[in-house]
Protein backbone atom coordinates (compact mmCIF):
# COMPACT_ATOMS: atom_id res chain seq x y z
CA UNK A 1 0.00 0.00 0.00
CA UNK A 2 1.24 3.49 -0.84
CA UNK A 3 1.18 5.80 2.16
CA UNK A 4 -0.18 8.72 0.17
CA UNK A 5 -3.83 9.28 1.16
CA UNK A 6 -6.35 8.46 -1.53
CA UNK A 7 -8.60 11.39 -0.67
CA UNK A 8 -6.95 14.76 -1.02
CA UNK A 9 -7.58 18.14 -2.58
CA UNK A 10 -5.55 16.95 -5.56
CA UNK A 11 -6.68 19.69 -7.91
CA UNK A 12 -6.73 22.59 -5.44
CA UNK A 13 -3.43 24.13 -6.60
CA UNK A 14 -4.75 24.38 -10.16
CA UNK A 15 -6.69 27.62 -10.22
CA UNK A 16 -9.01 28.49 -13.08
CA UNK A 17 -6.53 31.16 -14.04
CA UNK A 18 -3.91 28.45 -14.38
CA UNK A 19 -6.18 26.25 -16.49
CA UNK A 20 -6.92 29.00 -18.99
CA UNK A 21 -3.31 30.19 -19.05
CA UNK A 22 -2.16 26.63 -19.71
CA UNK A 23 -4.44 26.42 -22.72
CA UNK A 24 -3.16 29.77 -23.94
CA UNK A 25 0.44 28.53 -23.75
CA UNK A 26 -0.42 25.34 -25.64
CA UNK A 27 -2.24 27.26 -28.35
CA UNK A 28 0.50 29.83 -28.69
CA UNK A 29 3.04 27.03 -29.12
CA UNK A 30 1.45 26.16 -32.45
CA UNK A 31 0.52 29.71 -33.38
CA UNK A 32 -3.20 29.28 -32.67
CA UNK A 33 -5.20 31.95 -30.91
CA UNK A 34 -6.65 30.64 -27.63
CA UNK A 35 -10.44 30.85 -27.79
CA UNK A 36 -13.23 29.71 -25.48
CA UNK A 37 -16.17 27.84 -26.98
CA UNK A 38 -19.65 29.29 -26.90
CA UNK A 39 -21.31 26.42 -25.07
CA UNK A 40 -18.52 24.71 -23.14
CA UNK A 41 -16.53 27.42 -21.43
CA UNK A 42 -18.96 28.61 -18.80
CA UNK A 43 -20.21 25.13 -17.93
CA UNK A 44 -16.65 23.90 -17.46
CA UNK A 45 -15.66 26.94 -15.43
CA UNK A 46 -18.58 26.35 -13.08
CA UNK A 47 -17.78 22.65 -12.81
CA UNK A 48 -14.11 23.33 -12.05
CA UNK A 49 -14.73 26.08 -9.54
CA UNK A 50 -17.39 24.04 -7.74
CA UNK A 51 -15.08 21.06 -7.34
CA UNK A 52 -11.37 21.62 -7.69
CA UNK A 53 -10.76 22.79 -4.11
CA UNK A 54 -12.62 19.84 -2.61
CA UNK A 55 -10.83 16.79 -1.19
CA UNK A 56 -11.72 13.81 -3.37
CA UNK A 57 -10.41 10.35 -4.20
CA UNK A 58 -7.70 10.35 -6.87
CA UNK A 59 -9.96 8.55 -9.34
CA UNK A 60 -12.54 11.33 -8.96
CA UNK A 61 -9.91 13.97 -9.67
CA UNK A 62 -8.99 12.12 -12.85
CA UNK A 63 -12.64 11.88 -13.82
CA UNK A 64 -13.17 15.59 -13.21
CA UNK A 65 -10.34 16.32 -15.63
CA UNK A 66 -11.88 13.91 -18.15
CA UNK A 67 -15.28 15.59 -17.86
CA UNK A 68 -13.77 19.03 -18.30
CA UNK A 69 -11.88 17.80 -21.38
CA UNK A 70 -15.10 16.41 -22.83
CA UNK A 71 -17.00 19.65 -22.29
CA UNK A 72 -14.60 21.27 -24.76
CA UNK A 73 -14.35 24.70 -23.21
CA UNK A 74 -11.62 25.78 -25.59
CA UNK A 75 -11.54 25.66 -29.36
CA UNK A 76 -8.16 23.89 -29.31
CA UNK A 77 -6.14 21.59 -27.06
CA UNK A 78 -8.64 20.72 -24.37
CA UNK A 79 -7.07 17.28 -24.02
CA UNK A 80 -3.53 18.16 -23.07
CA UNK A 81 -4.70 21.09 -20.97
CA UNK A 82 -6.26 18.61 -18.54
CA UNK A 83 -3.97 15.61 -19.17
CA UNK A 84 -1.00 17.75 -18.16
CA UNK A 85 -2.73 18.70 -14.91
CA UNK A 86 -3.23 15.06 -14.02
CA UNK A 87 0.35 14.25 -15.05
CA UNK A 88 1.61 16.79 -12.51
CA UNK A 89 -0.70 15.33 -9.85
CA UNK A 90 0.65 11.81 -10.50
CA UNK A 91 4.22 13.07 -10.33
CA UNK A 92 3.51 14.32 -6.81
CA UNK A 93 2.89 10.72 -5.75
CA UNK A 94 6.63 10.09 -6.08
CA UNK A 95 6.17 6.50 -7.21
CA UNK A 96 9.02 4.29 -8.40
CA UNK A 97 9.82 5.19 -12.04
CA UNK A 98 8.16 2.24 -13.79
CA UNK A 99 5.02 2.42 -11.66
CA UNK A 100 4.89 6.20 -12.12
CA UNK A 101 5.03 5.76 -15.87
CA UNK A 102 2.26 3.17 -15.87
CA UNK A 103 -0.03 5.11 -13.52
CA UNK A 104 0.52 8.33 -15.43
CA UNK A 105 -0.29 6.54 -18.67
CA UNK A 106 -3.50 5.04 -17.24
CA UNK A 107 -4.65 8.38 -15.84
CA UNK A 108 -3.71 10.16 -19.06
CA UNK A 109 -5.70 7.70 -21.15
CA UNK A 110 -8.76 8.20 -18.95
CA UNK A 111 -8.53 12.00 -19.18
CA UNK A 112 -7.93 11.80 -22.93
CA UNK A 113 -11.05 9.66 -23.36
CA UNK A 114 -9.23 6.71 -24.90
CA UNK A 115 -9.04 4.30 -21.96
CA UNK A 116 -10.17 0.70 -22.18
CA UNK A 117 -12.18 -1.02 -19.45
CA UNK A 118 -9.05 -2.87 -18.40
CA UNK A 119 -7.10 0.36 -18.01
CA UNK A 120 -9.87 1.90 -15.95
CA UNK A 121 -9.94 -1.19 -13.73
CA UNK A 122 -6.15 -1.10 -13.33
CA UNK A 123 -6.27 2.56 -12.37
CA UNK A 124 -9.09 1.94 -9.89
CA UNK A 125 -7.05 -0.84 -8.31
CA UNK A 126 -4.06 1.47 -8.03
CA UNK A 127 -6.25 4.09 -6.32
CA UNK A 128 -7.52 1.44 -3.92
CA UNK A 129 -3.90 0.71 -3.01
CA UNK A 130 -3.50 4.24 -1.68
CA UNK A 131 -3.94 4.75 2.04
CA UNK A 132 -7.40 5.43 3.39
Amino acid sequence: MTLMPRVQAWLAPFTWEMVTAQNAVLCQAIGALPKPTFDGYERTRELWLANHLRPMPLEEAVDLCRRCHRLALFCFYNGNTFASIIAVVIRRLELPPVQAKVVRSLAGHIVAGVSTGEEEKAFREFCESLAG
Binding site: P13, F14, T15, E17, M18, T20, A21, Q22, N23, A24, V25, L26, C27, Q28, A29, I30, A32, L33, P34, K35, P36, T37, F38, G40, Y41, E42, R45, H69, R70, L71, A72, F74, C75, F76, Y77, N78, G79, N80, T81, A83, S84, I85, A87, V88, R91, P96, P97, V98, K101, V102, S105, G108, H109, A112, G113, V114
Partner: protein, 80 residues
Protein backbone atom coordinates in the same frame (compact mmCIF):
# COMPACT_ATOMS: atom_id res chain seq x y z
CA UNK B 1 -4.56 36.95 -13.82
CA UNK B 2 -4.84 39.73 -16.27
CA UNK B 3 -5.81 37.98 -19.41
CA UNK B 4 -6.98 34.72 -20.84
CA UNK B 5 -10.61 35.43 -20.28
CA UNK B 6 -13.66 35.52 -22.46
CA UNK B 7 -16.20 33.44 -20.66
CA UNK B 8 -19.27 32.19 -22.39
CA UNK B 9 -18.61 33.38 -25.88
CA UNK B 10 -16.61 32.47 -28.92
CA UNK B 11 -14.59 35.64 -28.61
CA UNK B 12 -10.83 35.40 -28.51
CA UNK B 13 -9.20 35.17 -25.13
CA UNK B 14 -6.55 37.74 -24.38
CA UNK B 15 -3.39 35.73 -24.82
CA UNK B 16 -1.57 37.52 -22.02
CA UNK B 17 -0.44 35.61 -19.02
CA UNK B 18 0.26 37.31 -15.75
CA UNK B 19 4.06 37.40 -15.29
CA UNK B 20 3.56 36.27 -11.69
CA UNK B 21 1.81 33.17 -12.93
CA UNK B 22 4.56 32.54 -15.50
CA UNK B 23 7.07 32.57 -12.64
CA UNK B 24 5.04 30.15 -10.55
CA UNK B 25 7.01 26.84 -10.34
CA UNK B 26 3.82 24.78 -10.51
CA UNK B 27 2.71 26.58 -13.65
CA UNK B 28 6.15 26.12 -15.17
CA UNK B 29 5.95 22.40 -14.48
CA UNK B 30 2.46 22.32 -15.96
CA UNK B 31 3.57 24.14 -19.11
CA UNK B 32 6.49 21.75 -19.58
CA UNK B 33 4.18 18.74 -19.20
CA UNK B 34 1.60 20.11 -21.60
CA UNK B 35 4.13 21.05 -24.25
CA UNK B 36 5.91 17.71 -23.97
CA UNK B 37 2.69 15.84 -24.76
CA UNK B 38 1.37 18.35 -27.30
CA UNK B 39 2.09 16.22 -30.36
CA UNK B 40 0.09 13.30 -29.04
CA UNK B 41 -3.16 15.28 -28.93
CA UNK B 42 -5.41 16.51 -31.68
CA UNK B 43 -5.96 20.25 -31.59
CA UNK B 44 -9.68 19.92 -32.32
CA UNK B 45 -12.22 18.90 -29.65
CA UNK B 46 -12.58 15.32 -30.93
CA UNK B 47 -13.79 13.91 -27.60
CA UNK B 48 -16.69 16.35 -27.33
CA UNK B 49 -17.77 15.72 -30.90
CA UNK B 50 -17.47 11.96 -31.03
CA UNK B 51 -17.50 10.72 -27.44
CA UNK B 52 -14.15 9.09 -28.09
CA UNK B 53 -10.91 10.90 -27.47
CA UNK B 54 -7.75 10.87 -29.50
CA UNK B 55 -4.24 10.20 -28.32
CA UNK B 56 -1.24 9.17 -30.38
CA UNK B 57 0.63 6.23 -28.93
CA UNK B 58 3.67 7.09 -26.94
CA UNK B 59 5.37 3.83 -27.82
CA UNK B 60 6.98 1.49 -25.37
CA UNK B 61 10.59 2.60 -25.61
CA UNK B 62 10.48 4.84 -22.53
CA UNK B 63 8.81 2.15 -20.44
CA UNK B 64 11.38 -0.42 -21.63
CA UNK B 65 14.18 1.95 -20.69
CA UNK B 66 12.76 2.46 -17.19
CA UNK B 67 12.24 -1.28 -16.71
CA UNK B 68 15.80 -2.03 -17.82
CA UNK B 69 17.11 0.61 -15.43
CA UNK B 70 15.04 -0.88 -12.61
CA UNK B 71 16.29 -4.41 -13.31
CA UNK B 72 19.85 -3.14 -13.32
CA UNK B 73 19.31 -1.32 -10.03
CA UNK B 74 17.80 -4.39 -8.39
CA UNK B 75 20.32 -6.94 -9.67
CA UNK B 76 23.09 -7.94 -7.26
CA UNK B 77 26.47 -6.43 -7.87
CA UNK B 78 28.80 -9.01 -9.43
CA UNK B 79 31.50 -10.18 -7.08
CA UNK B 80 35.12 -10.76 -8.11
Amino acid sequence: MRGVTGAGSSQEMTPEIDPKLRDNPLFQELMAEGLAMQERFAAEPVYARTGKGFLRSEGVSELQRLKAAEIQRNSPTPVG
